[in-house]
Amino acid sequence: MSRIETRYRRLLRVLPAYYRQQWEEDMVATFLDSVAPGEREDEQIVAEYGWPSAAEARSVLALAARLRFGGTGAPRRYALSGAVVRRFALAGMLFHAATAMTTLVLRLAWPPEVVRTAPPVEMVLRFLWLPAFLALVTGRLRVTATAAGLATAAAVVAALTTTGRGFTAPELGLLVLDVLLVAAVAAFHRDAPPVRPRPWLIALPVTAVCAFAVEYAGLLGDAGVASALVSAVGVAFLCTRRVFAWRHDQAGWALTLAVLALAALGLRVLALPQLETAVPARSALLTAGYGETVVAFVVAVVLAVVAYRSVAGPRAVTSGTSPA
């Protein structure tokens, strides 16, 4: 086996096993035909020292995203992961879009000398998440990827240049989530069921108002708002999972909310040391921060258990392909 074949087979490992079983040999033969069809010396050199081109790698990665984050007609496991990743992207961008708005509104409540100054660039650039979210809901994926990518890049630049102190732990946590959100756009491929815009568009002002209420009441920062909102939605799901629309895809929703709850809990825990230094010991705010962490932990655990049961259970009712 030539080195380029080994390298190509290694690349193909991103594809699900069931797919490789059916197509790997064909793909390898076609690839080798295209790069080194014979025994000529230059072809031998390519076979030994060449690498699959970036375009070939991209085509395999795009295929992997389509198969692993499946849509209509995909095997259940992949349809489920597709539904979860798509909702994770929608919920994450919804959160960013809503908090970008509330942060700017809340700023008006600050002392007049601050309000009269121009808002910091990073605060304005966070607004890029709003078009990213709206474009995702309406199926304009290029706009989403561009706006979300720019927002993420802007957050990195702002953290490195404006403050000059590098990243704090919560910033780093949020950045990892942002990168995952941008990557998750790949799950909205042609086979994925289209997003139903209405519920997500209604969720935007609702989330903004709730985020405003949480932040105004407790000033707990992004991590606090995220875990409070996800905990609230998680509890609502656990209480009503047999009633509302999510009863059609309980496993998918339980898994999505479990993932979101774990992410929010992670952010909350990372931000706790900052809260401890920012507010006096034994203050109500610190107690609220700890209380919120405990609630987020309990909700995340219960959601994870429910998700595990509904995914693994014999009576699992999910299409996994219902619209996000």
Binding site: T30, D33, G38, V60, R66
Partner: protein, 109 residues
């Protein structure tokens, strides 16, 4: 139907081809506009085989490499014919409107 699927079906009209043969034929048919990468080709083929428009034909071993050939099914031929008619109708409609517009533009002058 995507443009890629359309050209893969067209490439198989005159007989079965293997993967690399399809890549070459599609490049020629599309004047190089549709360069199929291997990942893309097998994404399209997997779907066409799943939809029953294309079926695996024979297998051959050349230079120690397995070559699986694919052929167009009857259903695939019908779908391609329908798609070609649809594209033709679209092109005719656009051309007719453009012709009328040109005539109107040239008229008053």
């Amino acid at each position: 139907m995507t443009e890629q699927a359309f050209f893969v079906l067209t490439a198989l009209v005159d007989g079965p081809r293997h993967g690399y043969g399809i890549v070459g034929e599609v490049a020629e048919l599309s004047d190089g506009r549709v360069p199929l990468k291997v990942g893309t080709l097998y994404g399209v083929l997997d779907r066409l085989v799943g939809d029953g428009l294309v079926a695996p034909d024979r297998e051959e071993v050349t230079n120690g490499r397995l070559r699986r050939y694919f052929r167009l099914t009857e259903q695939g031929r019908n779908r391609l014919a329908l798609e070609a008619q649809r594209l033709q109708a679209n092109a005719r409609a656009a051309s007719a409107r453009l012709k009328a517009w040109r005539a109107a533009e040239a008229g008053p002058a």
